[in-house]
Amino acid sequence: MALLQISEPGQSPVPHQFKRAIGIDLGTTNSLVAAVANKGGADNGIAKVINDTEGRAILPSVVNYAASGAQYVGYEAQAIAADDPFNTLASFKRLMGRGLNDVSDTSQFQIVTPNDALTDTADKNDVIRIATAAGEVTATQASAEILKCLTARAADALGGAIEGAVITVPAYFDDAQRQATKDAATIAGLNVLRLINEPTAAAVAYGLDKADDRYIVVYDLGGGTFDVSILQLSEGVFEVLSTGGNSALGGDDFDLAIVQWALSQANISAEQLSAQEYRRLLIDARAAKESLTDNDSVTVSIQSSSVTWAGELTKVGFDALIDALVTATIAACKASLNDADLTAGEIADVVLVGGSTRVPLVREQVTALFQQAPKTDVDPDQVVALGAAIQANSLIGNSRDSDLLLLDVIPLSLGIETMGGLVEKIIHRNTSIPSTRAQEFTTYKDGQTALAVHVVQGERDLVSDCRSLARFELRGIPPMVAGAARIEVVFNVDADGILDVSAKETITGVSAHVQVKPSYGLEESEIAQMLKASYSHASEDRDARMLAEQRVEAEGLVDAVNMALAQDGHLLNDVERADIDAAIAAVLAIVGQSDTQAISDAVAALGRVTDTFATRRMDQSVRAALQGKNIEDVADGSL
């Protein structure tokens, strides 16, 4: 693995080594983890969901923070929820990367926690913190608990530490929500290979990335939310054309419809049942719903201290109960088609996600709208996690099949605030990522030495209609007349759709200082603190692990540089070569010692002196592709 040099197909310089990579569907109601099995094993490269020790695939996205400081996750937390509702968080994905300003509708966090024990944050733009018996927690931390639990499950099943993960996020997640998801992984000590969009993952699970150009609809009916996404697959690029849905409509509403029906048939009100009796009816209703997928009728019963009732619910009767709900999802599909400027007839594939898509009426109505039967071969509860696992396996380098390349676009435009509260867009929506865009600004007052930059995301023209992402202050601009300073603001969006902004004054070359304050995220130091607190091991163990990881990185980089020097040393002049040799020697001199920070510094120094070299090699390989070879040769992989 030479520095930025791709091996020719089939000529891997290092013997192929299987790495443990997982895909995680971090859902609002439920989460799952999946992995592609090692080739040569019984499952031979097939993605499979990893069950817990009791054979359950699903981990409910619920976390309980007990006064003892212990945390309970998943089914355990769900079991405690009834007795300890105030310290139990559910559906916290709704609050990821959100400030109080975003959640004007308090019902949004009523779903997360029944109390209104939200910490009074002085700044309404700050991330939402929920008071529990174990102290303040954020949605990011609760998500980290889910990630930790799933990662531990996968490590047990796969027989060793997990080396990388792909985590799925809704297509409409903005920068702050994506960043919060990555922060959760950092707190969980998980290496994120990539965040990918949930609908894209579902399409990958069906192998649609290898299909011809087409339009795909992903219909995702979860427990409490409904999302529809329209994707365009164009020459291997998945682009999200539109998204829509209803964040308060899901399969749980079907259960509630059956409960309401049973209560009215039995002629009693919900208040006449104890909490326990009501819960039993709800479970019964869910079982009835599931039973009606394969049967024409089912018996529903209510047993309470005062009433005993049993009645027959037919499929026709059930369809009538949920008809309005299903129709609402179809209306959302039509709206999304409109947004994408498409008609139902132009859709080539319909992919179903979420357990509630098993309900026959849902399938009938989806079929009627799109004039075709939806894809149902892959378990709709697992399809997103499976797609993520396939992508994780490819990214970590296990898959020889290098055909899978998802090129993504940015879902919402990025811009900055200009005079009068207007937005100047710097990177437009649907721009391919990664993306770099630089824009020049200047001062508007004589002698101005600082410039405030406000970064926003959204399609509207007014700052107040867009989402605030960050505020920057560029200080130390030398005093000049208005309009003389040349301040270059650079937007970088990485392959996860996460933004990084930097600014500098270019005329004087005076290095100016940029301060970044994330509007809705956690501070870097806070994440580090949470990460530290999350280690269950003694600090010596942690230090040992960090040292070991740093040594692996150091040795890997030295190997890569040496291999690159052997091949392309001629691209360097004597001075450059001497600098690199010295930096290598510095790394080798220190790698055997136990000063983690010193090794890290030496590695960073080697990285810096080889930057130019790596660029020249990349340039060379691009040029080589143009000289004496036509594009077909290049496409054959001889670049």
Binding site: L4, G236, N338, I396, T431, S435, A495, L557, A560, T615
Partner: protein, 180 residues
């Protein structure tokens, strides 16, 4: 990191206004397949960082060559002529008159939801857009801005292309919304 600034060279295209779109897409995808950050997800942080930069550069190069106005602007930049799209004004009076008439016809057709009129306007605008692109292509000889081409004419031609592109985009989305 110094990356190839000439997008034609990077994308394996002759430096001329007419591009082979199929070859351009193929070359873009071949390079992304090699250098996209996904290919370095399990490599060193330095390699990941460089891959992000290079892949972003490829995205810019493709987007530039794929769009007539951006492509024209890039060709001029390579010839040492910079265009400030926001502050450039077209001084051709005949064109300005035509432009006002086209705008009026557009506004009338939009007010009346007159689909046939909009479609005919769309065809007319695109014909003019094409002609304008041919004018621009003719200003170049052997990858160079020809000596006879005066700078004002060059700027005006790009300005006109920009005008037609914008109008064409507006017409496309309006026609789509009316045919739903």
């Amino acid at each position: 990191m110094k990356l190839e600034h000439n997008f034609f060279t990077l994308m394996g295209q002759a430096q001329q206004f007419t591009v082979d779109r199929a070859a351009l897409k193929k070359r873009f995808r071949t390079l992304q397949r090699e250098y996209h950050p996904d290919r370095f997800a399990a490599k060193t942080p330095q390699e990941q960082r460089l891959a992000v930069q290079f892949s972003a550069h490829l995205n810019t190069a493709f987007a530039t060559l794929d769009n007539p106005v951006k492509r024209a602007t890039h060709m001029l930049e390579l010839s040492g002529v910079t265009i400030d799209h926001q502050n450039s004004t077209i001084k051709d009076p005949v064109f300005l008159m035509q432009q006002m008439e086209t705008r009026e016809a557009f506004d009338d057709a939009r007010a009346d939801n007159d689909l046939p009129a909009l479609e005919s306007l769309f065809n007319q605008v695109n014909t003019q857009f094409q002609a304008c692109q041919q004018d621009f292509a003719a200003l170049f000889e052997a990858s160079q801005l020809s000596a006879s081409a005066d700078e004002k004419k060059v700027r005006d031609t790009v300005g006109k292309m920009q005008f037609f592109e914008k109008l064409s985009d507006e017409l496309t989305s309006l026609i789509r919304s009316l045919t739903q």
